[in-house]
Amino acid sequence: MATDITESAELGEINKYNFRTETTGVFKAQKGINAEIVNQISDIKNEPDWMREFRLKSLEIFESRPMPKWGGDIDIDFQDIFYYLKPTNGQGRTWDDVPQEIKDTFDKLGIPEAEKKFLSGVKAQFESEVIYGSLEEDLAKQGVIFTDTDTAVREHPELLREYFAKVIPPEDNKFAALNSAVWSGGSFIYIPKGVHVDFPLQAYFRINAESMGQFERTLIIVDEGASIHYVEGCTAPMYSTESLHSAVVEVIVKKNARCRYTTIQNWANNIYNLVTKRAYAYGDATMEWVDGNLGSKLTMKYPAVHMMEPGARGEILSIAFSSAGQHQDAGAKLVHEAPNTTGQIISKSISKNGGRSSYRGLVRVEPGAHNSKNNVVCDALILDPESRSDTYPYIEIAEQDVQIGHEASVSRIGEEQMFYLLSRGLTEQEASTMIVNGFIEPLVKELPMEYAVEMNRLIQLQMEGSVG
């Protein structure tokens, strides 16, 4: 499997070594985390004082918090990680350094040449300026801001400061605090009142080494009556020498606005992917998270929607696929803070070759949020006896007059379904791939076309066991 190679400590060391010796400039990357390093990051970015103070305060919170005791086993030595690496413009790593398995997977997925180099960290900039340039112009005319978060700190200081860390403060959890201390990159998006962006905005168009960093920070504000579909990630395996990815994504959806945030991520087998994503949806607004998680050593990710005002809707669709050596602890969180709010969670997980998928979900109805409706459906598919699936649904309800539904199912690929397909000439491999693709079809059909196609192809590769 492709990602087995990245588990090899040796390879990791070689690549870290490359980074350390070949990075030039004032910044000298060092492992570990302390106030000096945080100050250094702030220096390099030439940040205003408030951001520096925010980082330093977050560091204190990070240090004072214990590791979460639930979720998965986290075995991270925080002093053995680089927290900031300057983009290397291709000097840090060469194409020859990229493991053959990763290259093969790119080929199988049909990833274009230029993207391959970018995705494997050989190039710092993804060459799509041409496509992106005209889009950017179009959007700018409508007042849309779409930039990386570092740039936003410089160019849109007031707007950014008004919303930054308001939905997810550093106190929220240990990893949100860590991100707040060392964050770098991520997207900043502002959609003005009444503006509808009618094509999916893809992080893809503007990814560079910064925005895909380990600690990216994304902030999206959809103003009243506006709408946007943001798509992040891609199905190519994310190859990284660092083992910790901890992002924070905050979304504010104002009155009558809509936001759909789609993520498809396929991490290499050595990665801890610990992400905090949360949205506030105001009066009659709709927030949807579509979240697909493949790979990684451990993913802990529970996109949340807080329905702040009457009529708000929150929807979360989540797919998790775990294979050998992987644990997906994924789920969702819906908090009804106001009356007449509606929430829905649909979660589908697949476990294979000893992989483990857990659904962890919270539905909370706060006092006063009467006449709220919530429905949770989680289905797990287990492909072999070595694999495992667990469900941890938490429901806290402080109101009488609400409708709450919860359905959970765990299934194995049925002998009967399998036999039916085999009896029509499909091989066992084709049949199980088809059953798995069918299982996630209700979610895949929500994805933009090209992602849906890639997703199916990726599942096929996963099922063939040729990627990890």
Partner: protein, 271 residues
Amino acid sequence: MTHVLKIEDLHVNVGEKPILRGVNLTINHGETHALMGPNGSGKSTLGLAIMGHPGYDVTGGKISLDGKDVLAMEPDERAREGIFMAFQRPMAIPGVKMADFLRHATTNVRRPDRKEGEELIPMREFRKELKEKMSHLRMDVEFARRYVNDGFSGGEMKRAEILQLAMLQPKFALLDETDSGLDADAVRLASESIAEIGQGKMGLLIITHHDKLLEHNPPEFTHVMLGGRLVETGGRELADELHENGYDRIRNAYPDAEAANQEMLAEEAAI
């Protein structure tokens, strides 16, 4: 060379329980055979064993196709060798579209040597053929976009099985109550379609409790199963007799088989 499907002294268990107790049957390509017998006598079991269902344990006997050992083959290899079964109770595969499923199946059966991951039948060509065959069966084109057997009515399911028969063009087809659960018009349409697709073009084994299907597909041979054995074989007139008078004569004539049948039914009731 005409193709031959040959079953010799076949014994099949489900778990510990013996169901088939020595079945002998030879079907030549182009022949139509009717398989009759009371409920629970083992008709479906015979079909499923021929197709290779993993829940049906072959404890003795042989199955061969043109001399090749069928029992050594996985179900998908059997399908690619040209064996097909229209199931009494087809399985639903949620999320998998009929068209995608059929395109894979048709490709594999027509190109038995295809390696996994190689091209499927070109989309355009496949669609055209599928559409033609569907309109022949008076199926709406929408049907191709529905998920395999998911939420199908009884009649739709059986029609979908016939569509698969039409697409896969096997050498031997085992049709297990493909006429049950259909209204009078649908039975006629199914019977005519099967005659058109299969009569003389494949070896047919028709399992049925009704006479309509056999009217359109007159069998050269009728076999009667009781207690897991084929106790009598005749021509078309045997089928007519059983439709007319039921199984009393058979039950009286073969008391051992009848006892075995009763025993199986009793165990079934006990479960």
